[in-house]
């Protein structure tokens, strides 16, 4: 008993002060990509050709980057001697519309806001989510799961993962939606009482990720159910997911 209490004391306090304070991320963290097409030589396609998921397209030396497909790897950065693409430390990436995830020069990523007052009113103080992994590699799953640890302490924001879709207000989906999970995902969605929301977490759930266009997958959650919030990354940092959830509920203050 005394030992348990002594250990508790020694462990200290580790809950982050987010959202009051910005999270401390590693120096090498790869956040929102920055595009500077002015450095692009005529006709160069190096970044587009290096991208494993073809997230980058180049037209008239203007780079377009689909954040929904981006794996946040270093292939384009390494392929480009001009450093037209670089990663910033900005972890805030969530949007409410798929189109917003297409980055272009001079276009600021339109971050998610509470879709309407109704969502805020209905879910702002209490949001229960059921997580469905539909072909996820366990990357997005573990980074979602850590929101329950004392560092992020999801419960203090009134958000909780529940064991049954019948107890939930919405789904948080990871994975490209494999053929073998499609039915289970549909049934789980149907079991959630309305009004309900759907959150797609990670490149796979948004676009299929590395598995895009495989015959065994459906290229993401919105192939099967309507998606309200997109949180890109491979996997997204837990703070990216948390920021997205709070932004969506208008609870960032």
């Amino acid at each position: 008993m005394f030992k348990t209490l002594w250990t508790r004391l020694k462990q200290g306090h580790h809950t982050s002060r987010f959202p009051k304070e910005a999270p401390k991320l590693s120096q090498r963290f790869r956040g929102l990509p920055m595009i500077d097409s002015s450095k692009c030589p005529q006709g160069c396609q190096d970044c587009a050709q290096s991208c494993p998921t073809d997230a980058i397209t180049l037209k008239d030396s203007k780079i377009k980057l689909d954040l929904g497909r981006c794996l946040f790897c270093t292939d384009c950065v390494e392929a480009c001697p001009e450093q037209s693409i670089s990663y910033s430390q900005d972890y805030r990436l969530a949007t409410t519309s798929r189109v917003n995830l297409i980055l272009e020069e001079g276009r600021i990523l339109k971050l998610a806001q509470a879709a309407d007052q109704k969502i805020k009113k209905t879910f702002g103080r209490s949001l229960k989510l059921r997580q469905v992994s539909a072909g996820g590699c366990n990357g997005c799953e573990v980074e979602t799961n850590v929101l329950n640890t004392l560092v992020f302490d999801l419960g203090r924001f009134g958000i909780q993962f529940v064991a049954s879709p019948r107890h939930a207000d919405g789904l948080l989906i990871t994975g490209p939606v494999t053929e073998n999970m499609e039915l289970a995902l549909k049934k789980t969605y149907d079991a959630v009482p309305s009004p309900k929301i759907v959150i797609a977490v990670g490149a796979c759930a948004i676009s299929g990720g590395p598995y895009i266009h495989h015959p065994q997958v459906h290229n993401g959650a919105d192939s099967t159910v309507p998606v309200d919030l997109y949180i890109p990354g491979c996997p997204p940092h837990p703070f990216t997911i948390l920021d997205g959830l709070l932004r969506f509920l208008d609870n960032l203050k």
Binding site: G136, T144, Y211
Partner: protein, 476 residues
């Protein structure tokens, strides 16, 4: 006979008539060799047997032009899932296989026990927690589980198929997400295969950085698992401390490569990121020591609490004999008393020179699988600190050239779950004609099913967590 990360021209791969091939595999596995991989290439069957004591790999191939052969499974149980996969992928029939179900296709019947008081419990694919999908079908008598059948395949993304005719620009992403919690392990196995096939020498510095990454992956997962085991028996202090501490190890990986799961760290020819003195002394060494101190306190609570021990001990026992017959690998094998650790038996990279100590435990129960994790945490921390002290100068990354043509190589890595086996076979253009991935979970799921026999069904979450196997690593 080859060693780990050695190449063998295809024409030198020993091919035997089917009867002789079968006899050899059955005899050798009875002598204690393990099937690391068994797969088909059109009408050809290929087995890779691992000799843990000698550190050698025996590739054995045979032709099955009739598309059928007498099954190995009745005499060699560890072949069971491989043979089911061969039937599913290549329509080659292992005649006499006792349970020839598809591995990844859904909608097949389950083994059923009939009787007045027998009932069936179905769980999944959508589970209560934030985990991957799989289906568990229990045949129970009261609270006792008589038989558990595990049906997977929900995570099947067609990964292996896409590796054929590679490498392509997407191959590394496939490796990093084959089992997303083992990104470093699988990517390392792939990079070793590529380096063997292109005769690329990786600098000692890069080898050490890879090993640091691999051990950090082990630390994070082992720590997380100990916390989750505590959670499953309702012992909350260790559960909440370890949940946080797992993140400390992930953050250390992120300090090196920007990704908590090690994405981008291991690259063909070396590593994608180097570390400088400041990072080593100010962050890695200091934070690792601090995290280890906290993990020690948190885990020690488990061993000092009688109610924890009474739930761990004698729960979900997997005997040494069963572990051997089923071809268990990794920490599950070591928890059942088998001396089996690729870092020792088939050393790779820097593990030729330095390695963390090997731990085994005899009891084969949940306690053993928890305790082995703790022993390995201690060994890995010591090992990383040693490497950080002695990091030599060297190039971060070498160039890899074209791959050898018509050649086979086997790449074994000790991931945190156990043996990761990649087999690469190239065609006459130097592209992969076959690339086979065997995640440790592919071997070990059967161990979980067996360990549950005679247990109370309420102990399933605890037993499951003590194995903590990968669904997508199995389904690919």
């Amino acid at each position: 006979m080859i060693r780990n990360h050695q190449s063998l021209p295809l024409k030198d791969t020993p091919s035997h008539p089917i009867e002789e091939w079968r006899k050899k595999i059955i005899e050798k596995t009875k002598e204690g060799l393990r099937i690391s991989a068994l797969f088909a290439q059109e009408n050809k069957l290929m087995a890779i047997l691992a000799h843990d004591e000698k550190g050698t790999l025996l590739p054995l191939s045979t032709e099955v032009p009739t598309k059928k052969y007498p099954s190995l499974t009745p005499e060699c149980p560890q072949a069971h899932l491989f043979e089911r996969e061969i039937k599913e992928q290549h329509d080659i029939l292992p005649e006499g296989h006792p349970w020839l179900k598809p591995v990844r296709a859904l909608g097949t019947d389950f083994f059923r026990i009939a009787g007045e008081e027998i009932h069936e419990v179905a769980v999944g694919p959508v589970h209560a927690g934030i985990i991957e999908p799989g289906h568990f079908r229990f045949q129970c008598h009261g609270e006792d589980v008589i038989h558990l059948e595990i049906a997977l395949g929900y995570q099947h993304r067609g990964l292996e198929h896409q590796l054929q005719h590679g490498p392509t620009k997407r191959t590394l992403s496939y490796m990093e997400t084959a089992a997303g919690d083992t990104s470093i392990g699988h990517t390392l196995a792939y990079c070793h295969a590529l380096e063997t096939l292109s005769s690329c020498e990786v600098s000692e510095r890069a080898q050490m950085l890879r090993a640091i990454g691999l051990e950090l992956e082990r630390l994070a997962n082992h720590t997380g698992d100990l916390g989750a085991l505590a959670a499953d028996i309702g012992y909350l202090p260790t559960s909440s401390y370890c949940g946080r501490l797992r993140g400390e190890f992930l953050n250390l990986t992120a300090e090196i490569c920007g990704s908590r799961l090690g994405r981008g760290l291991v690259r063909p020819g070396g590593v994608g990121f180097d570390i400088d003195e400041k990072l080593i002394s100010l962050i890695l060494q200091e934070k690792l020591k601090k995290a280890f101190k906290d993990v020690t306190d948190a885990v020690q609570l488990l061993w000092d609490t009688p109610s924890v021990l009474s739930r761990f001990e004698e729960t979900g026992v997997l005997s040494k004999k069963s572990a051997m017959e089923l071809g268990m690998v990794g920490l599950v094998a070591r928890s059942s008393g088998l001396r089996q650790d690729i870092r020792h038996t088939f050393p790779f990279g820097i593990y030729h020179k330095e390695k963390p100590s090997l731990s085994t435990w005899k009891s084969g129960d949940v306690f053993a699988r928890a305790h082995i994790r703790w022993l390995e945490i201690q060994a890995s921390v010591k090992f990383i600190l040693k490497l950080l002290e002695a990091l030599p100068a060297g190039k971060k990354r070498e160039k890899t050239g074209a791959l050898l043509k018509n050649t086979l190589t086997v790449s074994l890595i000790e991931g945190w779950r156990g043996e990761i086996c990649h087999v690469a076979i190239t065609d006459d253009k130097g592209l992969f004609s076959t690339y086979k991935i065997v995640d440790p979970s592919f071997h070990n799921w059967a161990g979980l099913a067996l360990a549950l026999r005679g247990q109370q069904i309420s102990d399933f979450p605890l037993c499951n967590k003590s194995f903590n196997l990968s669904y997508c690593g199995h389904d690919l």
